[in-house]
């Protein structure tokens, strides 16, 4: 199993969700996050004064999929979340060792 962790623009969540739904992926975790990548945010000016906005609001979408699905999911996310501008985000793929369903205690394969 793989966990696909995507840091995307907040306005791209719906498109990413739709793309994942097309791959029959229903379960996901969506979290409001703040951070920065290479661009390290930027400085905003308001009434002549500088405001540091280095931590930019982003959305984090996490899904866990079978190993053989991971590549398709990554492609779908990249396609849905891309604008071509700086700040489009990142996708991370992590190995998942084990997974349990809390209600039943059952181990999932």
């Amino acid at each position: 199993m793989k966990m696909i962790k995507c840091i995307i623009r907040p306005n791209k969540v719906d498109e990413v969700k739709d793309a994942l739904a097309k791959l029959n992926i229903a379960g996901m975790t969506v979290t409001e996050v703040r951070g920065h990548g290479k661009q390290k945010g930027h400085t905003a000016i308001y009434r002549g004064k500088e405001y540091n906005v280095s931590l930019l609001p982003k959305m984090e979408v996490e899904v866990v999929v079978a190993d053989n699905m991971a590549e398709d999911v990554v492609k779908a996310v990249v396609q849905a979340a891309r604008t071509g501008e700086i700040g489009d985000g990142r996708v991370f793929v992590l190995p998942v060792l084990e997974s349990y369903r809390i209600r039943t205690g059952e181990k999932e394969s």
Binding site: R9, P10, V33, R47, G48, P57, E85
Partner: protein, 850 residues
């Protein structure tokens, strides 16, 4: 002509001839003899004193008739104890001679003619002379006089003068001041008696529990709650008995001493006990009985006063008192008949940081269904009071909730009633629609006072909104359309139109409220669902919102609306997104508008051309507008634009065309002229030289060199109001300065020095920032500094000295803070890095030296 005798037996017609001056002495002596005889029988109590007062009244009226009338209306009023008809044998006769107009020589003659015979009689007259206008302001240096005025009673002269005096004098602030003074005077007086009524030789006027305390008790009740004493510790009849007793004792003291002597000394106790007919074989027994009665009565008075002081509500408005349980109607029956006064109760509660008393809420609840919305705000003052009530501050949510609970809110705004307890099932909302709405207002109220660091930025926005009550009105109505299940924003705005019609909101205020309601979801959509890092999205949003004021309001509306959905809905993450969109849009509105010029086929131009007045041609309007920023169309209403077109007609170099208008305390000056160096600086300088405080403004230039500057300012010295030729004076000075015939620096010199000396207000560290990125055509100068007279003149003079052209300017003030954005060029181009550096350093030096 004087009038008198209008339905009042104390008044007599001046045309009726008096019995003659010679009978004055006889009348006075006869009245005194009668009272002396009563006092001798121990019966110099209330009834005797009333008879004596009436006879003095008659004597004064006779004198008044004999003296003849002065040029202006005059009334003679009895004050203090005489006003209450408790004039004692040796008391001063306290009078107010009140003139309806200016006191001139004939009035002075009248005074001498009226007062001299009284002095000749040996009467001690305590007289005050006033013109009616003196009562338009509160005299705070003589609280005893104010107290005496509470007992004012007309004796002779013009009746309606007394009525007008009553209207001027009996106001809530005056009553409040008198009450405060009275409580202080009581404390001072009591401390002179060591705070105890059990004096072996009591002063029957001044001592604790004596006559002054009795009057103080009644005065407190009169000023706060006329029904107060009915609920007091002593039956009012027992207080009356105490009064009669004390007056009878006082009469014997005056009789025996032959002067205004009020101490019941050991010697006088025997004599008084005898006169009052106390039984007992020995004088000691008779004295003990007298003093035992005295202490019994004094204790009744003392307890009543203590109770009144503890219980009396503070007067906080007409028929309104503030008690420990909150603001309440003093006379619920009167309040029930006057629904327009109910808003004042809620306003007083907010002002005083108090609740509304339960009994007041019950009174409103019991009667509210008798009235329609219009009954609560029948005239303009009531409508303004209702809108003013909505200013976001501590207590507003609690009061609105009370108004809702007792049915008042739903009567004031039947549209709001439609969402009462309304349940809309969705995944997000956790409260009924009415409560969600009220919570948005609570959230706004909290922002106004927040100290949370990450919220201060929103608090600052709220502090800078000029009419935040309009935002609250929009919040109150933003979801009323949810009584239906379809597109609620459109339904809300349809219903809100009825409300703004009833409140007779017009112009910008009306448009702003409706705009906010119709588009209350627009900013959350843009902030949370669009890519706000995309400059096109920001540009589109800025074009939609139009002005900074609307942006501020919609930003706050979005914030508090999202927060009121559920405790979890508004996250710091969302706040950050909203803030970023706000800043980017604000910057776009203030810094980039110079790049977007009005073109021939500009959207919105059609309407302007179609509705144009007959004297303006489409070509003239189009030519005028060409080259001005598109923002101009959003800033000004069509009527103002037409005025500007006329101003710009046939303009020649050195000519200045101006229009000057007033809207309440704010004046608007529009100046059209042709561009030249130092122009903006000179115009600002001229305004400052007349003492005008510029609060908002826009300076616009088009490529043909036409300059249109529109300033809003306050005329704190009332120069324009008080001088009929002020308009021409301003115009002449402007022309002289613009054409170089006069130097504005000379005009300003004296004034600036005065300002520098007088202004030690809190100072901001000035901010000056130049930016070449924001606009395609201009260098943008952002300046934030402490507002001061002549500030704009000095800033723009420095800019012009650096050889820069001022092309566009936005001027705003928020309290003491001036926020100015200049769009400048040098030789038609943006400034170089070095030029920017030199200019900003010079500007900072100028601002820091202020």
């Amino acid at each position: 002509m004087l009038e008198a005798g209008i339905g009042d037996h104390y008044w007599m017609s001046l045309t009726q001839p008096g019995p003659g001056a010679s009978t004055l002495v006889a009348a006075f002596e006869s009245a005194r003899s009668e009272l002396e005889a009563e006092a001798l029988r121990g019966a110099g109590g209330r009834a005797a004193l009333e008879r004596y007062s009436d006879r003095i009244d008659a004597m004064l009226r006779q004198l008044f008739v004999e003296v003849g009338s002065p040029d202006v209306h005059v009334a003679v009023l009895a004050l203090g104890g005489y006003g209450r008809r408790h004039l004692c044998l040796q008391s001063d006769i306290d009078l107010l001679i009140l003139f309806g107009g200016h006191i001139g020589p004939t009035e002075e003659r009248f005074l001498r003619a009226f007062l001299n015979p009284l002095w000749d009689l040996g009467v001690v007259v305590g007289h005050q002379v006033r013109e009616l206008d003196d009562f338009t302001r509160l005299e705070t240096d003589n609280p005893e006089f104010l107290l005496a005025l509470l007992d004012a009673r007309p004796v002779a002269g013009t009746r309606h003068l007394f009525d007008r005096f009553g209207t001027l004098f009996h106001t809530a602030p005056t009553h409040g001041y008198i009450l405060k003074s009275l409580l202080r005077l009581i404390d001072q007086r009591h401390s002179a008696f060591n705070g105890t009524l059990y004096q072996l030789e009591p002063d029957v006027k001044e001592a604790p529990g004596a006559l002054r305390d009795l009057m103080a008790t009644r005065t407190i009740a009169m000023l706060t709650d006329p029904l107060l004493l009915r609920r007091g510790p002593a039956d009012p009849a027992r207080v009356d008995q105490a009064e009669d007793f004390l007056l009878r004792v006082r009469s014997t003291l005056h009789l025996d001493a032959g002067r205004n002597q009020n101490v019941l000394s050991h010697d006088m106790q025997e004599r008084t006990a005898d006169l009052l007919g106390y039984p007992g074989a020995e004088p000691r027994q008779r004295v003990e009985r007298l003093m035992s009665d005295y202490f019994r009565h004094a204790r009744v008075v003392s307890r009543s006063l203590a109770w009144a002081r503890k219980t009396a509500p503070l007067p906080v408005g007409p028929n309104l008192g503030l008690s420990r349980d909150g603001v309440r109607f003093l006379d619920p029956i009167q309040a029930a008949r006057n629904p327009a006064s109910w808003i004042a109760a809620f306003q007083a509660a907010i002002d005083g940081g108090a609740d509304i008393a339960e009994e007041t809420l019950s009174c409103v609840q019991q009667h509210v269904d008798r009235y329609r919305a219009d009954d609560f705000f029948p005239d303009a003052a009531d409508r303004e009071a209702l809108v003013a009530l909505l200013k976001p501050r501590e207590g507003l949510y609690a009061r609105l909730t009370e108004m809702h609970d007792c049915g008042l809110l739903g009567r004031l705004f039947p549209e709001f009633q439609a969402i009462s307890w309304r349940v809309v099932r969705d995944f997000y909302h956790k409260y009924t629609v009415d409560e969600h709405t009220l919570l948005t207002i609570r959230n706004l109220e909290r922002i106004a006072h927040t100290d949370e660091p990450y919220r201060l930025r929103f608090r600052n926005i709220l502090a800078s909104v000029s009419e935040p009550e309009l935002l609250v009105l929009a919040l109150l109505l933003h979801d009323v359309g949810k009584w239906r299940d379809d597109d609620h924003a459109l339904e809300s705005v349809r219903m809100a139109k009825d409300v703004v019609d009833r409140l007779q909101l017009v112009g910008d205020a009306r448009e702003t409220v409706l705009f906010l309601i119709e588009h209350h979801l627009r900013m959350s959509l843009a902030a949370f669902r669009r890519d706000t890092e995309d400059p096109e999205i920001v540009k589109e949003f800025a074009a939609f919102i139009g002005t900074e004021e609307r942006l501020k309001m919609l930003c706050l509306m979005t914030l508090v609306d999202v927060e009121a959905v559920s405790p979890e809905t508004l996250t710091p993450w969302k706040e950050e997104l909203l803030w970023r969109l706000y800043v980017d849009t604000y910057n776009h509105l203030t810094q980039r508008y110079g790049d977007e010029l009005i073109e021939r086929n500009q959207a919105g131009l059609d309407g302007l051309l179609k509705q144009r007045p007959d004297d303006l041609s489409a070509v003239e309007i189009t030519r005028f507008l060409e080259g001005f920023p598109q923002r101009y169309l959003q800033l000004f209403a069509p009527e103002a634009i037409y005025r500007h077109v006329r101003l710009a007609r046939n303009i020649h170099p050195d000519e200045v065309h101006l229009s000057l208008e007033r809207n309440e305390s704010v004046w608007t000056l529009a100046v059209a002229t042709l561009d030249k160096p130092f122009l903006f600086s000179n115009i600002c300088g001229v305004l400052s030289s007349f003492g005008m405080d510029i609060i908002r403004g826009h300076a616009l230039t088009n490529p043909n060199g036409l300059v249109l500057d529109v300033f809003q300012f306050t005329d704190n010295e009332r120069f324009l109001e008080l001088n009929p030729d002020a308009h021409d004076q301003v115009l002449h000075v402007l022309e002289d300065v613009v054409s170089g015939r006069a130097d504005v620096t000379d005009l300003l010199r004296g004034r600036e020095q005065g300002v520098l000396q007088s202004r030690i207000a809190l100072r901001l560290t000035p901010v000056v920032r130049a930016d070449n990125e924001a606009s395609g055509r201009y260098t943008i100068l952002d300046i934030v500094a402490t507002n001061a007279l002549g500030l704009l003149h000095r800033i723009s003079r420095v800019i012009s000295r650096h050889g820069c052209d001022v092309d566009l300017v936005l001027i705003a003030t928020e309290g003491e803070k001036a926020i100015d954005v200049f769009h400048i060029t040098k030789g038609g181009s943006k400034l170089t890095e070095a030029e920017q550096q030199a200019l900003t350093s010079d500007l900072l030096r100028t601002l820091e030296g202020l």
